[in-house]
């Protein structure tokens, strides 16, 4: 086992660090959390810079147009990008973490040619239309119907919690193509251009008051059969290719950004009056922060373990679930601690007293996105209990 950079990794890190130092300052000020078109433009601009410098698709295989970085280089990339405060991947997430890798693994040559470049250079934004009002944790029970009509599927149904749908060009859509077989066996994975007739996108406001996700109402949307990824009725398997990719390193960049948020919280605590001193003088607060920081450090080490195990032969069963379960817990505790430190400055999602307090309140609310999205914490516990520990199923 070793942690130090190899000579190649050290070179990669040094070059990347220099490039980030030169390019991050070129960006305009980051748009507000509520301004999704603005965020799209901002992130796309950054993605284009990455693309031109050869850093786009860092962990995508070379044949998919990616950089084909080693796992070590990928983690260095995430580490350095976060340290340099490069833009977080939000509107680009589905394209870069789900759709692109899925197309590389399962797409036709035409699909790859048409889509991969746009994801890499930031010109195409994707969203994920998996969940439905009646199919959340039990995703396989989804009902959105697709009926074959010549060269098209005619799709009718409803999707919900579709992140970034208001600014997306394409949607990775799961539909039911056969209602008469067991639920996992009648699902198909389609590429849906978001400008087709029959699609209505209704923004859905989140608990932090922004329209980061939406409801999709689909009324006889005609999607070409050529947009099918994988075989008809094989969509559940294709979807799991995507999810396994996300569970590998999907949350790591976000976790490193949480580490930055934690450091900002310490800086706030150091200037927040409390008793005779500051909030940071309170040992109860310091120790809770120490616990949280230790867990984030441990999760970074866990990531290194998983990524190196993945490179050697396969991600250990359950490691993605355990990572996400732990991360969801620690990010909620960080948010709880932030509210304690902010005290009455937490009563507004605005900066109070010239301190960057809004991001902390926002972070507390955002923590639910981690324990709910991408499989809730309870679902992760079920997966670990049944598939790793081998405990009997409930039913």
């Amino acid at each position: 086992m070793h942690l130090r950079d190899t000579p190649e990794e050290a070179t990669f890190r040094a070059e990347l660090r220099a490039w980030l130092a030169e390019n991050v300052p070129k960006l305009p000020p980051e748009p507000d959390h509520t301004d999704w078109p603005g965020r799209r433009a901002y992130e796309s601009q950054w993605q284009r810079l990455l693309f031109d410098a050869g850093y786009a698709g860092i962990n995508w295989p070379v044949e998919g147009g990616g950089k084909g970085a080693t796992p070590g280089e990928h983690l260095i990339y995430l580490e350095e990008a976060s340290a340099a405060k490069a833009p977080e991947v939000t509107v680009g997430f589905v394209g870069q973490m789900h759709a692109g890798p899925t197309l590389i693994a399962e797409g036709t040559p035409e699909q790859k040619a048409h889509h991969l470049r746009g994801i890499l250079d930031g010109s195409h934004v994707w969203c994920q239309g998996f969940s439905e009002p009646e199919a959340g944790s039990d995703l396989a029970s989804l009902r959105t119907r697709a009926v074959r009509d010549g060269d098209h599927y005619v799709v009718t149904g409803q999707k919900i919690w579709t992140s970034n749908a208001t600014v997306a060009d394409y949607c990775e859509l799961l539909v039911r193509t056969d209602p008469d077989v067991p639920k996992h066996k009648g699902i198909t994975w389609l590429i849906m251009p978001m400008d087709l007739p029959g699609i209505e996108v209704r923004p859905l406001v989140t608990a932090h008051g922004t329209a980061e996700f939406a409801e999709l109402f689909l009324d006889e949307v005609r999607i070409p059969v050529a947009n099918r990824v994988g075989d008809e009725n094989d969509g559940w398997r294709v979807a799991n290719v995507t999810l396994s990719f996300e569970r590998g390193t999907g949350f790591v960049g976000e976790m490193l950004d949480t580490t930055n948020l934690m450091k900002e919280l310490v800086a706030i605590a150091e200037v927040t009056p409390k008793g005779a001193g500051t909030a940071w003088d309170d040992p109860g607060i310091r120790r809770e922060l120490g616990q949280i920081a230790a867990e984030l450090d441990a999760l970074w080490a866990y990531t290194k373990r998983n990524v190196s195990a993945g490179a050697k032969g396969g991600l250990p069963m359950g490691s993605g679930s355990a990572f996400k379960l732990s991360y969801a817990g620690v990010v909620q505790r960080l948010g709880d601690l932030a509210l304690r430190i902010l005290d009455r400055a937490s009563l507004a999602m605005d900066d109070v007293d010239g301190r960057p307090t809004a991001a902390q309140v926002h972070g507390r609310l955002h923590a639910f996105a981690v324990s709910l999205g991408g499989g809730t914490s309870q679902i992760q516990q079920n997966i670990i209990a049944e598939r790793v520990l081998g405990l009997p199923r409930e039913r």
């Binding site: 616990q291 920081a293 230790a294 441990a298 080490a301 050697k312 049944e386 520990l389």
Partner: protein, 323 residues
């Protein structure tokens, strides 16, 4: 970057686990705690495997492997509930003659800033090593006045109460003392990881067998989720402990003291929480002396205090974050 075990390292852990299962079955483990129960022959056999000299250079009689290998060995020892002053022996093997082959049994005391002077395994030790900021001192246990406490919390870890920290002969300076504190902490944390994993495994087995309401209790989600959390805590802690172990061998990538403290926090949490879950999952049987569940928890309570408790570790990590 590579944080996975090599084939050799897996074989090393398997060897220790197999030895622990064969030579330290649960009756032997329990017997170690009885007055006069310390089995010097078994201890010497453990030493013969290279256990205590694992990370010492070969020309010092060691096996010549790294700190991380010692970490892996201690993980397996913890999982096997192997008794005795394992951390003390690994620290002292390079300093005190006879420790490496098991003929001399050491105890170690990290000088407490305040509070009572309670020393593990002193009852059975030939030599006591006292660690403080200035160095390591060696104390002959023959002339030491102390009270062996009759009811140690972990029945397998005898403890002696001393009136004061004894002064002895200085045998190493501050660098060695600092290195011992780090290594001692990481090795105890490694044992905590082993305990976390083993107590979970025992509880999972029980949950699959024990029937209530006509089905295995492990099918109840209330227990499943408790046990899933145990798995999560073990793996997160293991990652922190391995990382700290590697960091000691390769000082440049990170802050070693922060890594050691983070490892302690995660490992102590995993072992104590999983230990408690282990008792709870066993129901009324879990509260009996006979069922092993309590032994994992009690050992965890002992180890989490060695070379830095979780509160001190949390304080250290917090101050490092603040920079």
């Amino acid at each position: 970057m590579d944080l996975t075990t090599s084939d050799d390292q897996q074989a090393l852990q398997e060897m220790i686990s197999r030895f622990a299962a064969d030579r330290f079955d649960i009756d032997t483990v329990r017997a170690f705690g009885e007055p006069g129960g310390f089995d010097r022959a078994a201890w010497a056999e453990l030493a013969e495997l290279g256990t205590f000299g694992i990370a010492l250079p070969e020309d010092a009689g060691g096996v010549g492997l790294g700190t991380i290998d010692a970490v892996l060995v201690h993980e397996a020892l913890g999982a096997g509930l192997v008794p005795g002053p394992l951390v003390a022996a690994t620290l002292a093997a390079g300093l005190v003659d006879g420790v490496i082959d098991g003929s001399v049994v050491p105890a170690v005391l990290d000088r407490p800033a305040h509070g009572p002077v309670v020393v593990e395994h002193l009852r059975d030790a030939d030599v006591l090593l006292v660690v403080d900021g200035d160095g390591v001192s060696k104390v002959d246990t023959a002339g030491l006045a102390g009270t062996v406490l009759p009811h140690p919390t972990d029945p397998v870890t005898p403890v002696t109460l001393l009136d004061a920290v004894p002064t002895g002969e200085r045998v190493a300076g501050p660098e060695v003392a600092a290195a011992w504190r780090r290594l001692g902490s990481v090795l105890a944390s490694a044992q905590l990881v082993g305990l976390s994993e083993a107590s979970t495994a025992v509880a999972v087995d029980y949950a699959k067998e024990r029937q209530q309401f006509g089905r295995p209790i492990g099918s109840f989600q209330g227990l499943k989720h408790l046990l899933a959390d145990c798995y999560m805590r073990t793996e997160v802690a293991r990652s922190a402990v391995w990382s700290a172990g590697v960091n000691i061998d390769e000082p440049e990538p990170g802050d070693i003291d922060r890594a050691v403290a983070a490892a302690r926090l995660m490992a102590a949490r995993a072992a104590t929480e999983n230990g408690k879950t282990g008792v709870q999952v066993h129901g009324g049987m879990g509260f009996t002396w006979e069922v092993v569940a309590h032994l994992y928890l009690k050992r965890a309570w002992v180890l989490e205090t060695q070379f830095g408790n979780p509160d001190d570790a949390a304080e250290l990590v917090a101050l490092k974050v603040a920079g």
